[in-house]
Amino acid sequence: MKVGLFIPCYVDQFYPGAAIATMQLLEKLGVEVVYPKNQTCCGQPMANSGFEHLTGGCNSLFITNFSEFDYIVAPSGSCVLHIREHLHDDANPQLASEVASKVYELTSFLVDVLKVKDLSARFPHRVGMHQSCHGQRGLHLSQMSELVAPEFSKPGYLLNMVKDIELIPLSRVDECCGFGGTFCVAEEAVSVKMGKDRVADHLQHGAEYITGVDMSCLMHMEGILHRQQSKVKVIHIAEILNGQAEL
């Protein structure tokens, strides 16, 4: 099984640790991982701003870089959702559709494809799990609190394999953090208020770390935590599952 590693642009530039952990974790689980060097961005920032018609370049690059792999795995729910829903190529629609169907967010890849049953990781800390919206409601990584339906959580399932970890409860289990792409600056006041409220929920329940599948949400919450001079840190779930005890 050959997996192409798809690293979101802001993870590549600002949070390489999450990308390194993703790669190492997959390799530990026996997967051959390749990182196509010429990848850039999935195009979501433009598409969500109403400029989907400008994403042709990103789409072509993505297909070129990733079409050869059995699976494409990314440490991000929102980027994967965007590719799944919007990757297209008028010149070769079939190929685009095939490539899109092979893209997986990391935790769902571990649970649904690799069928991981245990991990040799240890993280002796109180951790709050932030349910990033696109991963949860778009990719169904976990059950949505609005629905009358059985509970489940793929990231939660994996985190529970980590030794000595203590997952804290939250008052609002899946409210949006307010990042929302360009929303974070276009509607700065509401975005920050949403982020502050999310952070407060974690702090009230004693979190030492806030984790999740999307670095964008975590980056937004980290910005708020740092401004508050809080000791609480954010960490991508890949780094916990990969066995990083400290950052």
């Binding site: 850039t40 109403g50 609005e146 974070c184 509607e187 949403m194 910005g223 401004r227």
Partner: protein, 464 residues
């Protein structure tokens, strides 16, 4: 009582957020309603099936609407009801005026109708020298305050009881400083009872219009629609064309979903079925289009017409809760408003589909399963394609596209960005950077993942 302003959602929301404690209060009140909705929905094991059924029924309605409308009209007329048709808000208002004038009525009592908000009926009638009193308590309060309702089900959810007490002191003579909800409600009861007993004309909205029988249903907790309608000589009911449901038995589905979704109650106190006028009295229905037939023709957006006006999307929306209904500067706010309004005026409401993080919670609580967040995304594309975006944004996006379509430019750009953050942070850590206002920028790592990979793995595949 003008709702339309030049300001856009972001600006109005920023204003709303100046008082953080008030935002918390507004947010917690609406979140509590979302929780009540969750609690009661979980008591119905077949809840998700009910939603699917309601959505499919409404899908059938939209696909057969012209036939259902004529069937409804035929049955209503046979029941002795007079049916009018209005192409837009102005025509609706004129029809109502004519009915009132023909009966020599100068004072009318009204129960909640968001359609009449859309048509600006009150303003119009007042300009013609008529008096309109809103009888729903929340609506009466915003009427006294000369504001528009901020929520389609809870019109004055944005008002604190002290503010309401002050309004009642000013207009209804209650003691200054009295903010007791029980006392204020009793005052309103007495004040409005006099109105009900004396008004010869009453206007109500319509929650559901049954094609099979020509009857329509009006749901209230207060009983104000019934008090007005049964005591008046003339009952006018205003409805949008999309209020149709095919058969009476379908009410079983919709009445089970509506109030549970709206407030977490199992049903409204009153679900009144109006079929024929009272002997000796008149009943009129005004069927209004006002842009709905255009929306019906938009394949991506027509499902927004399934809406049964429950407000659940507003209660769950993290943005609505923290910006308030007035920041949407339109009659119907929140997520559903943001996919209905651009159809009415794409320029005026171009900001609304962007007042969202596309979290998707709204679509999950919608009792008729409207794909609200998907439509928000699609409206964004439509709005930009139609040119309702700024030159700055267009240019910015074109640059972003150029950089992101070229691996070389991307790597260079990323490196430059990190360098600026490391060596000249003051260039971004300032007032010009909206991110920086209340958040720190991320710490720049010494190398990107791509750079680390080249150094440590070296066999990255080159493809371009």
């Amino acid at each position: 009582m003008m709702m339309k302003t030049e300001a856009e959602h972001a600006e109005l929301a920023q204003d709303f957020n100046k008082d953080e404690e008030r935002v918390n209060w507004h947010d917690e009140t609406l979140w509590w309603l979302r929780q009540k909705r969750d609690r009661i929905a979980h008591q119905i094991p077949e809840w998700e099936q009910l939603r699917e059924t309601a959505s499919t029924i409404k899908g059938n309605v939209l696909s057969n609407l012209s036939a259902y409308l004529t069937q409804f009209e035929e049955k209503a007329i046979a029941n002795g009801v007079t049916v009018h048709w209005a192409a837009d808000g102005a025509e609706h208002n004129n029809i109502v005026l004519e009915i009132l004038k023909s009966h020599g009525v100068t004072r009318m009592v009204k129960s909640k109708s968001m359609l009449t908000e859309e048509c600006h009926l009150n303003e119009f009638l007042e300009q013609q020298g008529l008096e309109v009193i809103d009888s729903d308590l929340g609506e009466r309060i915003v009427q006294l305050a000369k504001e528009a309702p901020s929520h389609i089900v809870l019109p004055c959810i944005h008002k604190k009881k002290e503010e309401i007490g002050e309004l009642f002191h000013q207009y209804l003579g209650t003691p200054e400083g009295n903010a007791d909800p029980q006392f204020l409600t009793e005052t309103a009861r007495q004040h409005l009872r006099e109105v009900f007993l004396t008004r010869k004309a009453a206007l109500t909205g319509v929650n559901f219009a049954i094609a099979e029988t020509g009857e329509f249903v009006v749901c209230t907790n207060e009983g104000n629609a019934d008090m007005g309608a049964h005591l008046a000589d003339v009952h006018i009911a205003s409805m949008g064309i999309e209020k149709i449901i095919p058969e009476r038995k379908h009410l079983g589905v919709f009445l089970r979903l509506l109030t549970r979704s709206a407030t977490g109650q199992p049903i409204t106190t009153y679900s009144s079925h109006f079929m024929k006028p009272n002997p000796g009295k008149e009943m009129h229905i005004v069927i209004v289009d006002n842009g709905r037939s255009v929306q019906l023709g938009r394949a991506d957006f027509r499902n927004s017409l399934k809406c049964i006006r429950c407000g659940a999307c507003m209660n769950t929306c993290p943005v609505y809760r923290r910006s308030g209904g007035h920041s949407y500067h339109t009659a119907i706010a929140g997520p559903i408003g943001s996919i209905l309004a651009p159809n009415l005026d794409m320029k005026e409401y171009a900001d609304l589909p962007f007042a969202s993080t596309l979290c998707g919670s709204c679509s999950n609580v919608c009792p008729v399963k409207i794909d609200i967040h998907t439509q928000l995304y699609k409206w964004r594309q439509m709005i930009v394609q139609n040119g309702y975006t700024t030159t700055t944004k267009k240019t910015g996006m074109k640059i972003m596209n150029t950089v992101l379509s070229s691996p070389g430019a991307y790597r260079l750009g990323g490196k430059a960005g990190r360098a600026v953050l490391k060596y000249a942070p003051f260039m971004v850590n300032n007032k010009l950077n909206p991110w920086y206002k209340q958040r720190d920028m991320p710490n720049p790592p010494k190398e990107s993942f791509g750079e680390w990979y080249s150094k440590n793995k070296g066999e990255g595949k080159d493809k371009a």
